[in-house]
């Protein structure tokens, strides 16, 4: 039990929960800001752009940490479909965490909008204005955003399933709380 690491490194866990809060906020801000003409539209879009760029930096750090530290093994008794689902959903989550900010930046560049973050930080444009490119990136950002939210809900459900029903230590491997004595699962 104690030979293999059964938890993610503390820095990985901290980053996971920090990004979880930010990503949830981003998804809600994103879907909220595009459906309002109220004055809050402007601060929301500023926060969305700023957190988006921060998340892009964080996910790259997180990916490096993951490659360095690896991940604790899944419980041996987990069925193959569940293993496959876990692996696939995590790859999709990583993919979306990387791609979503890039699509967001790209769609702004392709629309010739200056990208200015909180505090007046300017992000230089790496794409020229293009109607076609803007439309592609904008659609991808919107629809992958919905897919991202669905995946986050699935991830949350799976995490709770491990925590409350299987009680197999998977949730605890990412938990910020100190580890209690690992309970034996068999009764």
């Amino acid at each position: 039990m104690t030979s293999a690491p059964h938890r993610f490194a503390l820095i990985q866990r901290v980053l996971h929960w920090l990004m979880a809060v930010c990503i949830l906020a981003m998804l809600f801000i994103g879907v909220g800001m595009v459906s309002t003409v109220a004055p809050k539209y402007l601060p929301l879009i500023l926060v969305h752009k700023t957190i988006g760029v921060i998340l892009l930096v964080l996910v790259l750090i997180r990916l490096a940490l993951r490659l360095h530290y690896g991940a604790p093994p899944l419980p041996a008794d987990l069925s193959r479909p569940m293993r496959f689902g876990a692996k696939l959903s995590h790859q999709l989550l990583y993919g979306l965490m990387i791609v979503m900010p890039l699509l967001g930046l790209g769609m702004l560049w392709a629309a010739a909008y200056p990208v200015v973050l909180y505090g007046g930080i300017q992000i230089p444009a790496l794409l020229p204005q293009s109607d076609l490119m803007h439309t592609l990136l904008w659609n991808a950002h919107v629809y992958l955003g919905f897919a991202f939210f669905a995946l986050v809900l699935l991830h949350l459900a799976a995490g709770l399933f491990h925590a409350l029903i299987r009680r197999d230590g998977v949730f605890e491997s990412m938990s910020l709380l100190p580890l209690r004595d690992r309970v034996t699962q068999a009764k």
Partner: protein, 350 residues
């Protein structure tokens, strides 16, 4: 997969998980406005702008008819006392803009459109942009974005009672209606003033805030013309005239004047003019040097989003710039996706 391992609370846990997922999805849907058909969304504003004949595919959803210009903004340095924005430091800054008509029809007859506008983008060497979109009335038609939406709906109805009811609910429309009826028409984009109408907050180098509105005042002398006479000159006379004027007479000039609000002035309501005696500061001159058709012109790709502001200028308590920004972005997204309906080169559609 883990039969026999479910603890006694298994069912309760499943219910809890379902509640978390369902609640999350419901909160998301609520945030997206899917439970709020009454919310004023950019889509609803654009639906209200859309004429019965359908949307102007590939074009801006309002102020759809226009022509591009390029030139220079020549700052005289006087604006620096009000705002630390680079654009007010004495110097020349590239300007790109668009003369336009306040209509959702890109083929409208010039003499049928009462409101004329000017979109402007000024860039400074540090990459900052100041975008704005101004119109020629001295005050706006209504006080709030919701009232603007209601105006569009009411004016689109055949029933004359609809407008009466609208005016009763939005009495600020009265002065605008009077302006539309009585203000003289001109036969040139060059002879119009263009007013920002919305208030913004300038921040000076010392951190002091000043709420201002700005206007572009033409150096060309306005020559009144009747609506009937303008109509006789042809459906696209204004674009032909401005092209010809710049070609033959050279650059056109507008003085940019900022007006500083006194405490208590109605900064949140663009339908209310501020008293005449407010402090005015001339901050520079817009020089229009070249006119190009919109189809292949440089203004086509630009959304003159009034919330794109340099450091030293920010929005005030006026609710319009945010609303306009939201709706303009939606309009841009739509027309970019429809670019094939407004091809860049070749002959116009029949």
């Amino acid at each position: 997969m883990n039969q026999g391992k479910l603890p006694r609370s298994g069912l309760g846990s499943l219910v809890l998980i379902a509640a978390v997922v369902g609640g999350g999805a419901a909160a998301f849907a609520y945030t997206a406005g899917w439970f709020s058909p009454g919310r004023l969304t950019p889509e609803r504003m654009i639906a209200a702008l859309t004429p019965p004949s359908g949307p102007p595919l590939g074009h801006r959803r309002n102020h759809a008819k226009g022509i591009c210009f390029t030139g220079t903004f020549e700052a005289n340095g006087n604006g620096a006392e009000l705002s630390r924005a680079r654009v007010f430091a004495q110097g020349h800054y590239p300007a790109l803009g668009r003369f336009n008509l306040g209509t959702a029809d890109p083929n409208a007859v010039d003499a049928t459109v009462r409101v004329r506008g000017l979109g402007l983008l000024i860039t400074t060497a540090d990459g900052e942009e100041w975008r704005m979109a101004m119109i020629n009335p001295p005050f706006f038609a209504v006080s709030t974005p919701q009232a603007f939406h209601d105006l569009l709906i009411a004016s689109g109805k055949k029933d004359p009672e609809a407008m009466k009811a609208f005016i009763q609910a939005n009495p600020e429309f009265g002065p605008f209606a009077a302006w539309a009826k009585t203000a003289p028409w001109t036969g040139s984009y060059a002879e119009e003033p263009y007013n920002g109408l919305n208030s913004f907050v300038f921040t000076d180098a010392g951190g002091g805030d000043h709420t201002v509105r700005w206007s572009l005042l033409p150096s060309a002398q306005p020559i009144p013309i009747s609506q009937a006479d303008l109509e006789k000159r042809g459906p696209d006379y204004l674009e032909q005239e401005i092209t010809e004027r710049v070609r033959t007479a050279g650059p056109l000039r507008w003085t940019m004047v900022t007006t500083v609000a006194d405490p208590g002035d109605p900064t949140a309501d663009p339908s209310k003019a501020w008293p005449e005696n407010r402090r005015k500061v001339e901050v520079g001159t817009l020089i229009v040097q070249r006119i190009e058709p919109e189809r292949d012109g440089p203004c086509r790709d630009i959304n003159f989003d009034p919330a794109v502001l340099p450091q030293g200028i920010r929005v005030s308590d006026d609710p319009f710039p945010a609303a306009r920004s939201s709706v303009y972005r939606k309009s841009y997204d739509l027309r970019a996706a429809e670019a094939r309906d407004y091809p860049r080169t070749g002959t116009a559609k029949p």
